[in-house]
């Protein structure tokens, strides 16, 4: 936990130096918003109700991919991910710090996106009317996306994989989560009384995705220890007393 916080602080400090991720992702969010407004503003309110969930989560998917790509490009350029993996740091701390920093950027973009959608489309007024539920929905949706996205983006960065593969991998894998978010957003816009149930299901899916991603992070990046190595570790003699700290 402490290592995660330290790494997260380092990530955020690096971001605060030049605001590279926030600026690029935020600008991209605004561009996508403007394009959606030009394309769909003339539609009727009923059509807006059907379109807003798609607009929201498509933008999150695009912005999320951009953020993850850039965040791990930075690591790749300086080869810092390899250095971190070689350092005596818990691998889970690396995963959680990266996921948390990406989530912060994505939520900042959503802070532009959601009010933008609410102002541009009259059907989005519900976002202003229920700020708590909207915030919970956006946070849970982004968390699920980031949980999977961080795992695969880190895998590509560590293995010197091709970046274009991130979209190939990420969209099919994250779509069930995005679909869940889509259904919940629709429930929010329709003022469905079952909305808390939908939010609870999203939270449960988030927990499963985070757990699975945390479980796979180390084996995927560095590989599990081979049988021979595991046997050597098991046979290693115990430390002598003189080595032990006083």
């Amino acid at each position: 936990m402490r290592q995660s916080l330290l790494l997260l602080r380092s990530e955020l400090r690096q971001e605060l130096r030049d605001f590279e991720l926030v600026m690029t992702s935020g600008f991209f969010t605004l561009v996508v918003l403007a394009m959606f407004y030009l394309s769909f503003a003339a539609l009727e309110k009923k059509a807006h109700l059907a379109a807003i969930p798609g607009l929201l989560w498509l933008t999150v998917a695009f912005v999320g991919t951009l953020t993850l790509t850039r965040a791990f490009d930075r690591e790749r350029e300086a080869d810092t991910l390899r250095a971190l993996l070689a350092a005596p740091v818990d691998r889970l701390a690396i995963y959680f710090s990266k996921a948390a920093s990406t989530l912060v950027v994505l939520l900042l973009c959503c802070a532009l996106l959601v009010p933008g959608l609410a102002s541009m489309f009259p059907a989005g007024q519900v976002f202003w009317d229920s700020p708590g539920q909207t915030a919970a929905l956006v946070a849970l949706g982004c968390l699920g996306y980031v949980a999977i996205g961080t795992l695969f983006a880190a895998g590509l960065a560590a293995g010197a994989g091709k970046n274009m593969l991130l979209a190939v991998i990420l969209y099919p894998v994250t779509t069930p989560m995005l679909m869940w978010s889509l259904v919940t957003t629709r429930a929010l816009l329709d003022k469905n009384p079952n909305l808390p149930d939908y939010l609870g299901q999203m939270a449960a899916v988030d927990v499963i995705l985070l757990g699975l991603a945390a479980l796979l992070f180390e084996p995927m990046l560095v590989g599990a220890p081979g049988r021979a190595q595991a046997r050597r570790t098991a046979r290693r003699p115990p430390r002598r007393n003189s080595d032990a700290p006083n």
Binding site: I148, L151, F152, G155, L156, A158, G159, A160, G161, K162, L165, V168, I169, Y171, P172, V173, T175, P176, M179, V183, Q201, I208, L212, L216, P219, M220, L221, G223, A224, G226, R227
Partner: protein, 226 residues
């Protein structure tokens, strides 16, 4: 024991041949038409088994990928790839037969309901796994394995999608509610398709394992250092 297991895939394929013929003639000649859907309902006898086999292969692929990650096993990697290939083919079968059935029953090939979308997504995950295995670099094998595990996690989601979301798709208990005549035609068809799929899966897995062993032998020959 090793000898028996090596002929099992061939035996499965040989046993499947008469069963395929029997189940096809049974479905088309001896199974009564469904009252509301008519002849179009016959697709059900191929569509549902292919859907089940696709999900089974996604689970096999995910489990094998987990073993591959845990034990660095090349055999498990080969099994995962073979399962993904069969899952890809059966998934394609589901996605082709489903819209034909839907067009005849609902009047539209694609209603965009939860089961359809999640099945298409599972197929996309399998397709992206295959893309990664074929076009990714060596290190992307582990990445592909993680993807396969997420694909396997998608399977229960597909199963419960019909229960969770409003859908026009038949519910998950439809097979259990079939009349006896249809029930008797369903199982031979499922058995035939399962035998074909398992036979092809085993042959392909064996081929991939041999390919890996051949590669290793070639590397040892080139560089005989221990």
């Amino acid at each position: 024991m090793r000898r028996i297991s090596s002929v099992l895939p061939d035996l499965a394929l040989v046993a499947a041949a008469p069963l395929v013929v029997y189940s096809v003639q049974r479905v088309f000649l001896h199974t009564p038409n469904e009252r509301t859907m008519g002849t179009a309902f016959k697709i059900f006898f191929f569509h549902v088994p292919m859907g089940w086999i696709c999900m089974l292969m996604a689970i096999v692929c995910g489990v094998a990928a987990g073993v591959q990650l845990r034990r660095r096993s090349q055999r498990a990697a080969a099994v995962a790839l073979a399962a993904a290939e069969i899952g890809f083919l059966t998934g394609l079968g589901v996605l082709l037969t489903g819209p034909i059935w839907g067009h005849a029953t609902w009047g539209t090939p694609w209603t965009g309901d939860a089961r359809q979308v999640t099945t298409a997504l599972l197929w996309l995950v399998i397709a992206s796994y295959l893309l990664l295995r074929h076009f990714g670099q060596h290190a992307s094998e582990r990445l592909a394995a993680s993807l396969a595990i997420f694909g396997a996690v998608n399977v229960p989601l597909i199963y419960y999608a019909v229960k969770l979301w409003k859908t026009t798709h038949p519910t998950t208990g439809v097979v259990g509610s079939l009349p006896p005549a249809m029930w008797a035609s369903f199982w031979p068809g499922l058995g035939a398709l399962l035998l074909v799929s398992l036979g092809l899966f085993a042959v392909r897995a064996r081929q991939l394992i041999l390919e890996g062993e051949l590669d290793e032998a070639f590397v040892r020959l080139e560089d005989p250092r221990p």
